[in-house]
């Protein structure tokens, strides 16, 4: 490299860096406009300078990038951890709600008056402790022998119109699925007891009457009796009137 070439290069670099006075700068500009080789050299220097500048920018962003990843990742993990717990909790809760909802929906759509009746009904068993002086009545014997039609016949023939006879009429009618008859007989038990101030088989009649109302879908009537028994801890059937039974009847009523 001769001295003139070196001087030219230095001038070009000075021009690139804005280090020339006006006269020198204009002289270089003039040369660049006519000397293509010089112009190529200058362009090459510009490209080199731009490479350095771009590299510097890459390095600066890379440096900040590292700082920011540390700054962002750490808190993000802290935030994410509870976030994950919350998400999982919500997911579990949602699953439970879904399961519970499905269960409730299943119960809602499969619930029927017959189902509720069947799950709460137990045929009344006549338990009689007698002394030698007391005879078993015909209606009692017929009921104990599960001759329900005979029970009905005795009742309807007016052969036993006692409170107990009315009650056995009701339970026999239930067995025979003669609901209207059963309601009529149980009602008579309640009326007669009320009229005479007695309570012969009164609580039993209330219970079986409420079940009969469920069976006939007379839910308002059923609920009056069920609530009465539920609210009376001394009632013979209090423990059988569960919250579940009350909810089921209310659901049936809403449907």
């Amino acid at each position: 490299m001769d001295n003139s070439t070196h001087d030219n290069d230095e001038n070009l670099v000075s021009f690139l860096e804005g280090g020339l006075n006006d006269i020198e700068r204009k002289a270089i500009e003039q040369q660049l406009s006519v000397d293509m080789a010089l112009k190529q050299k200058y362009d090459s220097l510009v490209l080199t300078r731009e490479s350095i500048r771009y590299y510097g920018l890459q390095q600066q962003v890379a440096s900040v990038h590292q700082q920011m990843l540390q700054e962002m990742v750490a808190p993000v993990r802290k935030i994410n951890s509870p976030g994950k717990i919350i998400r999982y909790t919500i997911a579990i809760a949602a699953s439970l709600v879904l399961i519970a909802g499905s269960y409730m929906a299943y119960n809602f759509f499969t619930l029927s008056s017959d189902k509720v009746f069947a799950s709460n009904y137990q045929a009344y068993e006549l338990v009689t402790v007698r002394d030698l002086n007391t005879d078993e009545t015909a209606i009692e014997r017929a009921y104990r022998e599960k001759k329900y039609k005979e029970v009905m016949r005795i009742h309807d023939a007016g052969e036993d119109l006692t409170i107990k006879g009315e009650y056995l009429c009701g339970t026999a009618a239930l067995e025979l699925k003669e609901n209207v008859k059963a309601i009529d007989c149980f009602k008579k038990v309640l009326e007669e007891n009320k009229k005479t101030g007695q309570s012969i088989l009164n609580e039993e009649a209330e219970y079986y009457l409420s079940l009969t109302y469920i069976r006939t879908k007379e839910y308002d009537n059923a609920l009056i009796l069920l609530n009465k028994m539920h609210d009376d801890p001394g009632h013979l059937y209090n423990e059988r009137i569960t919250g579940k039974l009350l909810r089921q009847v209310k659901v049936l009523k809403r449907r």
């Binding site: 490479s51 771009y54 590299y55 920018l57 890459q58 990843l69």
Partner: protein, 201 residues
């Protein structure tokens, strides 16, 4: 303690253009846009690492474009960054040969409504070439050239950071380093063309 603040677009662009408060401004870009832009990459076949790398490149490209006055505020910084991010990532997916039909469909679907920045962004290879090229310089040369051409320090300021005896010695060293780098560029025409595409668009 560092004060964390966000900049309005106008202030952010002004800082980048002038080179003032660069670190603080770049951090503001990360805080405001990293999550949403990385989400795009991660939800389009990318990993967390991909998202970080692409975002870093996008920030470099964005600052470079601002400093070359190619971002004129016709869209918000957010929109512009999103467009750069999207293009850079989809281009990378194609490069990797696994541009899925889903992305292609997405790309086609978005063309009409997205800001078109495709002509503004060089390939990743070009950017990597710059890093490789300057990285091949000796450490001293790299430091002097960066301090002078990127940090815009004076010869006296550079002298204070080196063991050289005088400003003239630093000036001579800087000249030699520049010529060395220029020679490296000129020795490889393909590289030179790549740099031209990247730096002069």
């Amino acid at each position: 303690m560092e004060v964390i603040r966000n900049f309005p677009d106008s202030e952010l662009v002004a800082n980048l253009r002038s080179g003032q408060r660069m670190d603080e401004t770049i951090k503001a870009i990360y805080r405001s846009h990293f999550d949403s832009l990385s989400w795009f990459v991660i939800n389009n076949s990318g990993s967390r690492q991909d998202a970080e790398d692409i975002f870093q490149e996008v920030v470099v490209s964005f600052i470079d474009l601002v400093q070359k006055d190619k971002f004129r505020g016709e869209s918000t910084v957010k929109t512009f960054l999103f467009s750069l991010n999207r293009y850079t990532w989809l281009n990378e997916l194609k490069r990797r040969g696994r541009a899925l039909a889903r992305e292609e469909k997405y790309e086609r679907g978005q063309d009409k409504v997205e800001l078109d920045t495709t002509h503004l962004i060089a390939d990743r290879e070009g950017k990597a070439e710059v890093a490789r090229l300057v990285g091949e310089l000796g450490e001293t040369c790299r430091k002097i050239l960066l301090l002078f051409y990127y940090e815009n320090l004076s010869m006296k300021e550079i002298l204070d950071t080196t063991d050289y005896e005088s400003e003239q010695v630093v000036r001579n060293k800087k000249y030699k380093c520049l010529k060395q780098l220029e020679q490296m560029v000129n020795e490889n025409p393909a590289l030179k063309q790549t740099l031209k595409n990247l730096l002069h668009g």
